[in-house]
Amino acid sequence: MIPRLWVLGLVSFMTLPTLVVIGVSFNPTAILSFPPAGLSLRWYANVITYPQFQRAAVNSLLVTAAATALAMPIGTAAALALARGRLRLRSTWATILLSPLVVPGVAAGLGFLILAASLGLLRSRVVLVMAHAALVLPFVVRSVWVSVESLDPALERAAASLGATPWRVFRRVTLPLLRPGLLTALLFAVIVSLNEFVVSLFISNRVTEILPVAMFTYVVNYTDPTIAALSTLFIASTFVAVWIADRFLGLGGVFLHHR
């Protein structure tokens, strides 16, 4: 009903900037031109050898790993309680757990900065990890909760009636059945944490900053295609992650209702 050309135009509007970034990243000189004036991996080499990016990449991996390791079990436990527990005020609990999603980044960022200063933790990564854990928790709770809701309790009852201990039921029946939900949660947690910018900008310094913050500083100070190269690496890895997720988990099922 809606002209295909319109949809095509709008999808190109969404995709065009990405293509420009990828093109610009291969420029042989520091001039940002598209299409690129030649094909060179010079800026990729610069990404890999720039010391501040190396340090920030290590920080990103540390913070994301720690925040995900915290948020996954904690969020899964909360999702199980929300879906299965006979809770009064269930929707209130859910709202509280999902609330970090709606707090403006600058409010959370400045809040964590003031908190860190008052606890004398300005130089430590602990605050960064806690902030990231809180920010990815809603995504974990949501994904696992959806998965628990669609799990048939009869399967667990069958295992229990055949003599399995509650722990064994959880290990051998519940967890394997929740695997798609857990993988979606993990994907969300890692991507959200790796890309988190505003809150991290407030609570990190040159030593603890993560990649998006280092990229921001670079963009403000230099105008060569280095950030285009680093962006291309980011885009390529998220694209592959989303494609794999859609292939094996069916992202359409998470977002769309099929009759």
């Binding site: 009903m1 809606i2 319109w6 709008l10 999808v11 969404m14 900037p17 990405t18 420009v20 970034v21 610009v24 940002l32 598209f34 915290l70 079990p73 904690i74 436990a77 909360a78 199980l80 309680a81 929300l82 527990g85 006979r86 809770l87 609990w93 757990l97 970090p100 709606v102 707090v103 403006p104 600058v106 409010a107 400045l110 809040g111 964590f112 900065l113 003031i114 908190l115 200063a117 806690m130 902030a131 854990a133 809180a134 928790l137 709770v141 890309n195 910018f197 505003v198 407030f202 921001f216 963009v219 950030i227 962006s231 998220t238 992650a241 989303v242 494609w243 859609d246 359409g252 769309l256």
Partner: protein, 262 residues
């Protein structure tokens, strides 16, 4: 079962402690040149309405409204195609193309627009980079994936039988859209607009990079005050205002949509 909630509440408690620290700083006096603070005061909130900053507040509201409207108009056709296509290939392609920017972070997405708006590809007839127009384009692009997903979810709940019935009774495609499709998709339209408006109110990276210091939204003022002037109380007051407005919009909309739900 209740014990399973306890660890998550610890994480949320830390988050709440940060917001409490923010609230506390928003009502104490700023001592220039020092991170120590003075006594209780309402001056920080008075400064939000001072002439110096009123422009940023006004720009933020205008840009958020414009972004919401443009995003809705630009997202509807894509969401419709996503919800109605029968080919699973087309659906997958549309999903990946719309979701990929959703998953690449603020800096990557905004930097891409720095290149496009900065005359890298073509020379624009009007200047776009470091103008409000440019910031608007960036904000719309940033908000589209969210809007598309919410609209597509709402549209995929509408049985196409209603549209077919209307057109078999002689309605023109435009009439079918205005009288059947759009009214039935209103829950998605409302939740999409509310979310986009609330998020744009506290947008930071897009105005910071595409505005180049010439376009300031509330979040950029917070950063300037807190990180450049070390005026944490002043920044905190602005952040509290942004937080309060965001939460009240979402709360009002929550009531709106729950009253509408069948």
């Amino acid at each position: 079962m209740k014990l399973l909630l306890a660890p998550s509440l610890v994480v949320i408690a830390v988050f709440a402690a940060a917001l409490t620290a923010l609230l506390r700083y928003s009502v104490v006096e700023f001592v220039p040149g020092s991170l120590k603070t003075g006594g209780l005061t309402a001056d920080n909130f008075r400064a939000v309405l001072a002439r110096q900053y009123l422009g940023a507040v006004w720009d933020t509201l205008l840009l958020s409204a414009a972004t919401t409207l443009c995003t809705l108009v630009a997202s509807y056709p894509v969401a419709y195609a996503l919800a109605r296509t029968r080919s699973s290939r087309v659906r997958s392609a549309l999903l990946v193309l719309t979701l990929a920017p959703f998953f690449s972070g603020a800096i990557v997405r905004t930097y891409a627009w720095v290149l496009v708006l900065g005359n890298t590809v073509v020379t624009w007839p009007v200047p776009l980079l470091f103008t409000e127009r440019g910031v608007l384009i960036g904000l719309v692009h940033f908000s589209m994936p969210t809007m598309i997903l919410l609209l597509a979810a709402a549209l995929s709940h509408i049985d196409p039988v209603y549209e077919r019935a209307a057109s078999s009774l002689g309605a023109t495609p435009a009439r079918v859209f205005w009288r059947v499709t759009l009214p039935l998709s209103m829950p998605g339209v409302v939740s999409g607009c509310v979310l986009v408006f609330a998020w744009t109110l506290s947008a930071f990276a897009t105005p910071e990079l595409l505005g180049g210091g010439k376009v300031k939204m509330i979040a950029n003022v917070v950063r300037d005050l807190a990180l450049d002037s070390f005026n944490w109380p002043g920044g905190a007051a602005f952040a509290v205002v942004a937080l309060a407005v965001t939460l009240s919009i979402l709360a009002a909309a929550g009531r709106l949509t729950s009253g509408r739900a069948p």
